[in-house]
């Protein structure tokens, strides 16, 4: 076939038409198998495109197929793999490195299974079951059916137990408890408006409509006001070795978050950053976490917080994802790389974000002091530092996320060495639970004034 292509001039349309259905069908099928969202509609478009663009070279064929089939730059590697396996060797073009990790085309993963077996941790058993083979998956589901609804006392005990001390069945129970959690981020006003009796803008359209009822006299002015939406929530979760037991629980937490808050973005990192938002958008959290492990190849290796933050800032934060958002970082702050980089990137992030909440389970340990290099560097830029090591402590996290930042304009200053053995060695910016989120006051330009934006229905 490629011979025919090379002859160029002598290549006739007739030959192509004979080839066409088979070519389109085969390529579409292989692309679909490798995870690209190929629909019959797209395949039809491809066939149509081929009649418009005479694929006299393989290069032309490549670009035609790519324009039709690929709908995201993350899909390019998967597309390339299929295309070059069908049409022969890879040419000079390999500069198109995707800048996101491919979440689309990752093959089903067998790897974590063996890796976690070698892990010496106590939580190892349930990790294998939750994560790896399809058999483990079935096991997990069966177990879930067998467990009776948690008794109150059980629940009470579970609430206090640290995440790294949980047994397999407790973890399943925990998931059920967690699924009741809903995250509420602080709100902001959008430019989009909706009707409101006491809104600040006159709605001419509605006014005119109602005026027709009163013989054309606009007696009642219809008004609109700015709509209020929750801020975006971005979760950055450390899944390195030291954080692994927490990471598992938190990925569950993130699943809830991604489900309840409309605009939650979820990332995990250890040596590199992986975006999980898509993987977590499924109805089965266990499977989502399983998929998370598959798309995050560095599960339980070392941590490079600075690099991960930098990658986030460069690829996503700067473009707008972090702008005005609430950022939650789950990490113990043990940085393998340069702590200075952590400080610099946290500074960048703090300038973009509305609020940064750092969740560090080690904070709950007695005798805890900020010594981890990355944590020291990050602290000046953090709005709230909470432990969140157990289900009960998750309450703090939820409050910290929901807090309005003007209640704590000052970031907590890092004590040189905090030697209290309290749950929270220094005052975090956590306000009284439930204080601000539900309260309508505070949307005006200055607090205390009558807020014109609020009221009506």
């Amino acid at each position: 076939m490629s011979d025919a292509h090379r002859t160029g001039e002598t290549f006739t349309v007739r030959t192509l038409e004979l080839d066409l259905p088979a070519l389109v069908g085969a390529l579409s099928r292989r692309l679909h198998e490798s995870g690209l969202p190929v629909t019959p509609e797209r395949a039809a478009h491809f066939a149509q495109a081929l009649t418009l663009v005479k694929p006299i070279t393989r290069r032309r064929l490549y670009w035609t197929a790519r324009a039709v089939f690929v709908s995201d730059s993350a899909q390019v590697p998967a597309f390339d793999a299929v295309f070059f396996s069908v049409f022969g060797r890879r040419s000079e073009r390999d500069e198109f490195e995707p800048e996101d990790v491919r979440t689309v085309a990752s093959p089903p993963d067998e790897r974590p299974c063996s890796e976690h077996r070698t892990s010496p941790r106590a939580g190892e058993q349930e990790l294998g079951a939750g994560l790896s083979s399809s058999q483990g998956d079935q096991d997990d589901e069966r177990r879930e059916v067998e467990i009776p609804v948690a008794m109150a006392s059980d629940e009470e005990r579970l609430r206090r137990k640290s995440f790294d001390a949980l047994e397999a069945d407790e973890l399943a129970q925990l998931y059920r408890l967690m699924s009741r959690i809903e995250l509420a981020t602080p709100v902001r006003r959008t430019r989009r408006r909706k009707r409101g009796r006491r809104g600040e803008h006159v709605d001419l359209r509605a006014t005119l409509r109602t005026s027709l009822r009163t013989a054309g006299d606009p007696i009642r002015l219809a008004r609109r006001r700015r709509r209020i939406v929750p801020r975006r929530l971005v979760l950055l979760c450390d899944i390195s070795g030291s954080m692994e037991p927490y990471a598992r629980a938190y990925l569950q937490f993130l699943t809830c978050a991604a489900g309840s808050a409309q605009s939650a973005e979820v990332f995990v990192f250890a040596t590199r950053l992986t975006r999980l938002t898509r993987a977590l958008h499924s109805r089965h959290p266990e499977r989502a976490i399983q998929r998370a492990a598959a798309t995050a190849p560095d599960w339980s290796s070392g941590t490079r917080i600075g690099d991960a933050l930098k990658a986030f800032n460069d690829r996503h934060g700067r473009r707008g994802m972090a702008r005005g958002a609430v950022i939650v970082i789950l990490s113990d702050g043990w940085e393998r790389g340069d702590p200075e980089l952590v400080g610099r990137e946290m500074d960048r992030l703090a300038r973009l974000a509305h609020r940064i909440v750092w969740v560090n389970p080690r904070v709950s340990a007695s005798g805890f002091s900020v010594q981890a290099g990355g944590m020291v560097a990050a602290l000046p830029h953090v709005d709230a530092l909470v432990s969140g090591h157990s289900l009960e402590a998750l309450g703090e996290v939820i409050d910290a996320i929901g807090a309005e930042s003007w209640e704590s304009p000052e970031a907590p200053s890092p004590p040189p060495s905090a030697d209290d053995d309290d749950e929270e060695p220094w005052p975090s910016a956590t306000p009284v639970p439930g204080s601000s989120v539900a309260m309508p006051s505070g949307y005006g330009p200055s607090r205390g004034n009558t807020t014109p934006g609020w009221g009506g229905r």
């Binding site: 418009l52 663009v53 032309r60 690929v70 709908s71 430019r191 359209r205 006014t207 005119l208 054309g216």
Partner: protein
């Protein structure tokens, strides 16, 4: 086959203008927009299938310029809709001219003319916003509709666009469905601040625009800045390429390279050296941290004049 059926006349005009990919590339080059094969193929398909084209890429690689060049090639108006948060139908599609409606009501009260409600919601009282203008473009060649930075609009707005993207028509409650006689060539751009809905992507061709090769960048810069010398263009292209490789927050795009050459040209610089870079660094790097990084790595090295 495509749902966006085109009338014979419009299709014929377009087919005549861009019979194949090479012709389109040449015509784009005639209006000083240089394309690689990937982009040329996508643009060609987008015109001929026809299907909207979704362009993504780093800031300043020429996404918006692509639409402008396309409009020049087709010799039709470019109708641009800049998206922003909170944009809605009243700003993108149409709005009723309320003052005029009120005035008409008053006039009808005073005079003998009788005014029906249907009169008030007729074409005379319609303010046409970009999307509607693009649909009502009289031809003979399709207008180019640029929906710029669609990721800035909220996702409800994407859903609002679906009918337009798939059918080249929109529905106005008071008037019914407006169908384009000459469906516009639609170009969407996105900076990937968020993922677009699959529903939008499904209706579009997709193209990721990368930084150009060095030779192409030199060529683009020379086309865009009249009178720029070859040596200066080459030096700037090299320096910008080094910046993109180094560890900076916002790598300069082609737009910055063009600005830079223009700035150097105004200052009468003919040979890029450390001193000239120092004077004009602000036209290519817009973060002080980035400038520091480049300075720390030595400006001499940046312009390639030894250590």
């Amino acid at each position: 086959m495509s749902p966006r059926e085109v009338t014979g006349e419009a299709a014929g005009e377009v087919r005549h203008l861009v019979p194949d990919v090479e012709t389109l590339a040449r015509r784009l080059s005639d209006v000083d927009y240089l394309v690689d094969e990937g982009l040329a193929t996508s643009m060609f398909l987008s015109l001929r299938l026809p299907q909207p084209l979704l362009l993504e890429g780093e800031a300043g690689v020429g996404k918006t310029e692509a639409a402008k060049a396309l409009a020049q090639v087709l010799d039709t108006p470019l109708i641009r809709l800049q998206c922003y948060e909170g944009i809605d139908a009243a700003e993108a599609l149409y709005e009723w001219n309320y003052p005029r409606q009120l005035l008409s009501i008053r006039l009808a009260d005073a005079g003998p003319t009788k005014l029906e409600e249907a009169d008030l919601f007729g074409p005379d009282y319609l303010i046409r916003r970009p999307l509607l203008r693009a649909l009502e473009h009289p031809g003979p060649r399709p207008a180019v509709l640029l929906i710029d930075e669609i990721d800035r609009a909220d996702d409800d707005f994407e859903a609002f666009l679906l009918e337009l993207l798939a059918e080249a028509s929109v529905t106005i409650p008071e008037l019914g469905t407006v169908r384009a006689t000459h469906p516009p060539a639609i170009v969407l751009t996105s900076n990937r601040t968020r993922d677009l809905h699959d529903a939008v992507k499904r209706r579009c061709l997709y193209q990721w625009i990368d930084y150009p090769t060095r030779q192409r960048e030199v060529e683009i810069v020379r086309r865009r800045v009249k009178g720029a010398s070859e040596t200066l263009a080459v030096q700037v292209a090299d320096a910008v390429a080094r910046m993109r490789d180094s560890d900076i927050q916002k790598p300069p795009g082609i737009a910055e390279a063009i600005d830079w050459v223009a700035a150097l040209g105004l200052l009468g610089v003919e040979q890029l050296d450390a001193e000239a870079v120092e004077l004009t660094l602000g036209s290519v790097l817009k973060y002080s941290e980035d400038q520091d990084v480049v300075r720390a790595a030595s400006l001499e090295q940046l312009v390639g004049s030894g250590e």
